[in-house]
Amino acid sequence: MSREPYAPSMPRAWFLRRASERRYMLREASSLAVAGWSLHLLWGVRCLGAGPEPFAAWLAGHTHPVGVALSSLSLGLLLLHAATWFVITPKVLPQVVAGRRVPALPMVVGAWAVTVAVTVALAWWIGAPDA
């Protein structure tokens, strides 16, 4: 009997099939928010260099409803990006070190602790709480 294997093709919208794949694509898409916010900050630096008025206009943009919406969306996606990144972090490291299993949870908690500490330190240094 002759063989005639059937070769299935990958559907174009494969990432919509399973919830895990939809979450994966959202995680990947959140990197666009990180890039977008970085460009926005660079734009702010450029405005600062251009003088007090352009910088004031750049700052004022943040209080506009659209600006607030975009900032909130970016913050949400940035937090999602960080959370998913920290979940992956333990996977990069060997699972057994010096004959002992390395638990993942302390690494994830530690990453968040460092993030919070650095954020608070930066906010304190910049003087954001006083503003």
Binding site: M1, S2, R3, E4, P5, Y6, A7, P8, M10, W14, F15, R17, R18, S20, E21, Y24, E28, I88, P90, K91, V92, L93, P94, Q95, V96, G99
Partner: protein, 254 residues
């Protein structure tokens, strides 16, 4: 009280008989208890003797009965009919692999990829051998790769991984996990030879950490972690090669 019956919708494909894969549904008797593998055997005995699938051990060891159960790659012997949702469950052959007939896939091409990772011990010549030439190892030195050695080549990870379907010739989760299993072995000197395939663009670096391989793995091998560890090993090798004057790079057997 008997459990309500389940309906199985099975993807059929018989070369020469079917023009394209089609779905065929059967109802299991109410109260049917057993694994999905038992259910398929029941259907073959009572409904259609031409239904074909691959199986052997019935206990999650041989890795033969992988198939898609409602779009998730599972071992049919580890899926119980009582745990299926009441209603219809779709059974299909493992994705990303050519379908030979019904639920049987052609594994040869993927097996060849696994072989490219050189998943065998290349013994260090400097270590003393056992009485009949064994490569001896204290148990503690076996711990770093113990989980990785549990892989049964069921290929569920290949079906779970979208990159296997998207990136042609991606070495794949099990192959890269196998390589790390031997790379971490204190008796092994084959890392450098393995790296040719592992550190290639279609090796570990084609992985985008979807993580589906580790979710699908019935043996908790965590291939997603193995692949990321291989990336780190590759980076360390690269950095070492950059720092070494006149060095060509690549990991020495150590």
């Amino acid at each position: 009280m008997t459990a309500p019956g389940r309906r199985l919708e099975v993807q059929r494909w018989v070369p020469g008989r079917d023009d394209a894969p089609r779905w065929q549904a059967w109802d299991l008797p109410a109260g049917f208890d057993g694994s999905l593998l038992d259910a398929l055997a029941y259907l073959k005995d009572h409904e259609d003797p031409t239904l074909a699938w691959r199986w052997s051990c019935r206990m999650g060891i041989c890795g033969s009965c992988g198939m898609m159960v409602d779009d998730e790659p599972r071992l049919a012997c580890e899926v119980f009919v009582r745990d299926l949702p009441v209603g219809t469950t779709r059974i299909a052959p493992l994705t990303h692999l050519p379908v030979e007939r019904d639920l049987i896939v052609d594994q040869r091409e993927i097996m060849a990829r696994i072989a490219r990772a050189r998943p065998w011990l290349e013994p260090r010549p400097d270590l003393p051998k056992g009485p009949v030439g064994e490569n001896l190892q204290p148990p503690a030195q076996g711990l770093p790769f113990k989980d990785l050695s549990h892989c049964i080549d069921c290929l569920l990870c290949y079906s779970a991984c979208p990159q296997v379907g998207l990136t042609e010739d991606f070495l794949g989760p099990a192959a890269i996990a196998h390589a790390l299993r031997y790379d971490l072995d204190s008796r092994d000197a084959g890392s450098q030879a393995r790296n040719e395939a592992i550190q290639a663009p279609e090796g570990a670096w084609a992985c985008t950490v979807v993580g589906a391989c580790s979710t699908a793995c019935p043996k908790a091998v965590d291939p997603a972690s193995a692949i990321q560890q291989q990336k780190v090993r590759g980076l360390v090798d690269w950095a070492r090669a950059m720092l070494r004057p006149g060095g060509r790079g690549g990991r020495e057997g150590e």
